[in-house]
Amino acid sequence: MATNTAMKKQTGLTGNSAIAIAMKQINPDVCPAYPITPSTAIIEDFSSYVADGDVDTELITVESEHSAMSACIGAAAAGARVMTATSSQGLALMWEMLYIASGMRLPIVITNVNRALSAPINIHCDHSDSMGARDAGWVQLYSETVQEAYDNLIMAVRIAENEKVLLPVMVCLDGFITSHAIENITLLDKAEVQSFIGEYKPERSLLDIDHPSTFGAMTLQDAYMTFKHQQSEAMTRAKDVVSSVSAEFAKKFGRNYGLIDAYRLEDAEIAIVILNSAAGTTKVVVDELRKQGKKAGMLRLRLFRPLPHKEIADALKNCKAVAVLDRADSMNDFGGPLFNEVRSALYDGETRPKVISRIYGLGGRDYKIKDATDVFDELSAAVKTGKTDTLTKYITL
C-alpha cells in the first residue's frame, strides 16, 4: 500500500495530536469546543494553534456539547467551514443537534474519539457513542490507525462539502487505543492539504444580506417528508463520493483506502467483521491461521454510514461462517448494530453464510489474540457441523 510518497516524513504522533495537526492544516473558520476525555488533547493542541496564530480559526469556548454543536450549526449556516471534536457523553449531549445539522444539510466535520457511554461511568473505548448516533444522518468513517484517522479527517472535509452530499461527517477512532498511543505516521504539508480540500464555497449564507434566507423553518405534512427524502438520497450518493475522494487521495498521496478493508477474504471460509483498531489484532490472527492452512479472513468497514451493503455482501459471499464483532450492544437480545446490518446485507446472497454476533471490548476491555482465535475456532466448528453455538454472545468477559 505504501509508496515512496506515502512513506516520506515519518513522525511519531498520538491519534489526538495527529487529528489536531489535520485541523491546523485544514484551518477551519470556526471551531466551537467543549473538551472531553479521551478527545481532550485534540482541542488542547488545537487551542494552542489558535493562540499561536497558526490558524485563522475562531475558537468558541462553549458551556456544553449541546452548545458546541449548536454553534457549529449556526456558524455553518453562516457559510463557515466548521469542525469540532468530542467523545461519549459529549456526543450524547449533542444528540438533538446532530439531527438538526444533518437535516439542515450543513457540512460540519467532527472527530468522535470512541468512548463508552455511562452508566456505569467509564472513560475507555467502545463504540456505543457513535453507534447510538448511527441514524442521525451523519456520514460515519471509522479509522483503524492514527494514519487513517488523520487521512480520514482531511477527506471528510471534501466528502461533507461535495455538492451531491452536503451532509455532516463524523470521523471515529478508538479512545486511548488510537487517541493516546503513539504511531509512526506520515503527515502531508499544509499546502498539500489546502490544495486537496480547496476553498469552501457555501451555497448560501445567513450573512448574505443581499439574499436574505431562512434556515431551520417549520415544515409540515406537505413538505417535511420531501426534505427527508432528499436527505436520504444525499446519503445514498455519499457512498460514491467517499469512493472518488478516497481514489483522488490515493492518487495524490499514495495511501489507498476503500469503503471496506477486505483482508485475505478472496478464498476465506471463515471471517470476522469488525471496526476500528481491533482489526489489527484480528489480522495477526488471520495470518497465523493462514500459516496453519485455515482459510480465515477479516472484513473491516471504513465506511459505516452510508452502509456499503453491496460491497459487504460481495466481500463475504464465499464465506461459510462469519462472526460480526460489535464493540457496542443494541440491548435488543438480537446482537449488536454492526451484526444486524451485515447479516441483513447478506440476506439476498445466493449462498448465505452462518452469521453470529459477538460483543467484545466494552468499556475498554482488551481484545486479544486469544479472543480472535477463539472466535475463529467457533466459526471452524460451525463450518464442520453446520451449526452455530449461540447466535449472540458476549466475549472478552
Binding site: 437535516g103 439542515m104 439574499h211 436574505p212 434566507s213 431562512t214 434556515f215 431551520g216 413538505a223 432528499q230
Partner: protein, 94 residues
C-alpha cells in the same frame, strides 16, 4: 414555496425574505378579535403587541384586523389599556 416538491431547496432553506406574509396563519383562529371603534383611542398598543402584525393601521388610526394573518391569540384584547378595553374576543362566526 417552490413550484414542485422536487424543487424544494436543500435542508428546508427559504431562499427569500418576507415569506411570512404568504403564510395564512388566520386558519389557526378559534376566537376572532372585534374592535369597538367608539371606545378605541388609537393608542396603537395592540399594533405594537400583535405577534402577527395583523392589526391594520391607516392614516394614523387603528382600523381593524388582517384576518388572513390574525391567529386569534387574544394578546391585543389583553393589552388594550384597562381604561379602554376596546377589543373583545368572540366566537368565530360559523
Amino acid at each position: 414555496m417552490a413550484e414542485t416538491k422536487k424543487d424544494l431547496p436543500k435542508g428546508g432553506v427559504i431562499e427569500k425574505g418576507g415569506t411570512a406574509h404568504d403564510y395564512y396563519t388566520g386558519g389557526w383562529r378559534k376566537l376572532v378579535p372585534v374592535v369597538n371603534k367608539d371606545k378605541c383611542t388609537n393608542c396603537m398598543i395592540c399594533w405594537v403587541m400583535c405577534p402577527d402584525s395583523a392589526v391594520i393601521v391607516q392614516d394614523g388610526k387603528m382600523i381593524g384586523f388582517d384576518l388572513e394573518h390574525c391567529k386569534g391569540c387574544g394578546i391585543c384584547a389583553v393589552e388594550c389599556p384597562d381604561k379602554v378595553k376596546a377589543i373583545k374576543m368572540e366566537e368565530e362566526a360559523s
